[in-house]
């Protein structure tokens, strides 16, 4: 009976996982920056799908809003504004490939180790929880303001630190992106008709 074979949750999980991994790979292999952004959209969208699949609706929506809707839009916007010529492409040299592979591999190993270390992965799958009974929003919100359900300390301090860090990065980026014009050039420019 096929009914026993097709488990939609599993099917969607594998689908989203495949999309996420496949397009992540495409991001790495593509050398066209806006194509990369497009692939990244799909990879991040699929990740959001994975979140939604686990019932973490808030995180899923957040993924859409911040990464897909915010970061990527800004990325492409930045490319459009600053591109010196149309359709910027990035060539990757062999050395960069090796460095990236080492770093990426190390990160992958770390993530894999952490993932397998989670006890839930060894136990039997948890009972199915109807999605409307999964309430993560309030817990997340409280945790960010310093209250955690499971007794750990909240994330108020890290949250503030990260926010300030982001602000610093924004200001720094603005500072670095300023055009530095030599005074003579500036004077010459003023004289132009």
């Amino acid at each position: 009976m096929i009914g026993a074979v097709i488990d939609w949750s599993a099917f969607l999980f594998y689908l989203f996982a495949a999309v996420a991994c496949g397009f992540a790979l495409a991001v790495v292999l593509s050398n066209h920056i806006v194509h990369m952004a497009f692939y990244l959209t799909l990879a991040l969208g699929a990740t959001a799908g994975l979140f939604l699949l686990t019932g973490s609706q808030f995180v899923g929506a957040m993924q859409f809003m911040i990464y897909v809707g915010g970061t990527l839009v800004l990325l492409v916007f930045g490319v459009m504004l600053t591109a010196q010529h149309r359709f910027v492409s990035i060539r990757t040299r062999a050395g960069e490939w090796i460095t990236a592979a080492v770093l990426g591999g190390a990160l992958l190993m770390l993530l894999g180790y952490v993932a397998w270390a989670v006890p839930d992965w060894h136990a039997a799958p948890p009972a199915h929880v109807p999605p409307e009974q999964v309430e993560s929003t309030s817990r997340l919100g409280l945790a960010l303001t310093g209250v955690r359900m499971d007794g750990g300390s909240g994330y108020a301090l890290p949250f503030v630190i990260v926010s300030v860090h982001l602000l610093v990065v924004l200001i720094g980026a603005g500072y670095l992106a300023r055009a530095r014009v030599r005074v003579s050039d500036a004077a010459a420019r003023k004289e132009m008709p």
């Binding site: 504004l81 010196q84 300023r178 132009m192």
Partner: protein, 401 residues
């Protein structure tokens, strides 16, 4: 030209973005025909505008050297094709000046009626199209609704709706048909309340004011220096209207008519008690003032038409006889400017004594008005370019001739 535009310019102490050269036109929705503007932009800010004209050039002046003055009248229609009657008038008056022809009384009033109606029709397009430039479509159709009524009147008088060839040296090709004056009065009665609609939709609209007030400011000295004329000049506060200040041959046409030149004097427009006040943001010489002057001129023209109807129905005699098709011209030259809707339209005729002029010249008002555009657009935003070009109310047929 191309090399001039490629000069590298650097944005100082700011996030650096690429400069772009953008072609606005000749195929572009808001360049009123086939005007081409080359914009040099830094993001949305326009640092330089170069107008390129000539896409509609037919060398009408050369054609004029091969035709008799009456034969050339249809070519004047096609200059400012939105105000063909006023073009006919300018040329006819110039030829009459050369011929030293004295016009019968009735023809004079007929011309006033027709030309002021033509001015209304032209300003209606200018107003509607300006709305279109600012992104609102409906006033355009409201304007055309009323313009159609004027065109119906013109059609009844001369058989054409766009290129009339009605006014000609010596008078007009025909008298006004029977009952025409009543229809014209009926139109004026219907039209008067509609003007308030236009004021509500555009003149006093908050977004419209935001888009036009303080944008494209043309100081009076610059306007005169660039030879701007018509509503563009008066919008800058220069009290100059050829209907009052022109040559006697032209101003005598308006003898007996009471009208006040539409210009801001001491911070007030004539009869501004009746029409919306000038908003705080507006600066004399900006797009809003140019637009407002046109709106008030519509009212002024309506008044003149009403007076003309009265004079016309009282005057005796005929409407003038058109000169012969191959009328011999006296040796000499004559130049005359008239106040067309878009400004001072000048015609110059040089004759060697034959029936075909030696040289014909048309001084186009839009041509001079457009020449100021690169001055006005310096440092504005892309969205201001249509607003500024639209406020100059140009017609490419007249510029390119």
């Amino acid at each position: 030209m191309a090399t001039r535009l490629e000069d590298p310019r650097v944005v100082e102490f700011d996030v650096r973005t690429d400069e772009m050269l953008v072609n606005m036109g000749p195929q572009h929705p808001s360049t009123h025909g086939v005007l081409r503007l080359v914009l040099r932009t830094d993001g949305e800010v326009v640092s330089e505008v170069q107008p390129h004209i000539g896409y509609l050039h037919r060398c009408a002046e050369k054609i004029g050297e091969n035709l008799t003055p009456r034969q050339w009248i249809p070519y004047t229609d096609r200059m400012d094709y939105l105000a063909g009657m006023n073009m006919n008038l300018g040329w006819s008056l110039t030829v009459e000046k050369l011929l030293r022809y004295e016009l019968p009384e009735k023809a004079r009033h007929l011309r006033v009626i027709i030309c002021e109606l033509g001015r209304i029709a032209s300003h209606l397009v200018g107003m509607g199209a300006y709305g279109l430039d600012l992104g609102t479509f409906s006033p355009f159709l409201y304007a055309f609704r009323e313009r159609e009524k004027i065109l119906d009147l013109f059609e009844e008088a001369c058989g054409a709706r766009l290129t009339y060839s009605y006014i000609c040296p010596g008078g007009a090709t025909a008298d006004l048909p029977k009952g025409w004056l009543q229809k014209c009065e009926k139109f004026l009665d219907e039209f008067a309340p509609v003007i308030d609609e236009y004021h509500a939709l555009l003149t006093t609209n908050a977004i419209f004011i935001k888009r036009t007030a303080g944008i494209g400011i043309l100081p009076a000295e610059m306007a005169i220096d660039y030879g701007c004329s018509g509503p563009v000049l008066r919008g800058s506060g220069v009290d100059f209207d050829l209907r009052r200040d022109g040559e006697p041959r032209y101003t005598s046409m308006y003898d007996g008519y009471a009208f006040e030149v539409v210009v801001q004097k001491d911070g007030h427009y004539p009869r501004d008690h009746k029409y919306p006040p000038v908003p705080k943001e507006a600066v004399l010489g900006d797009c809003w003032h140019r637009f407002y002057v046109r709106m008030l001129e519509v009212v002024q023209s309506m008044d003149l038409v009403r007076q003309g109807i009265e004079f016309y129905s009282r005057s005796k005699g005929d409407w003038g006889t058109p000169i012969k098709l191959n009328q011999k011209l006296p040796k000499g030259e004559a130049y005359l400017e008239t106040e067309a809707p878009r400004g001072q339209m000048g015609f110059y005729i040089v004759s060697d004594g034959s029936s075909i002029p030696w040289r014909v010249r048309a001084r186009s008002s839009s041509f001079c008005n457009l020449s100021v555009v690169s001055e006005l657009c310096r440092g504005c935003l892309i969205a201001d370019v249509p607003a500024i070009v639209g406020s100059l109310d140009i017609v490419m047929g007249e510029i390119d001739r």
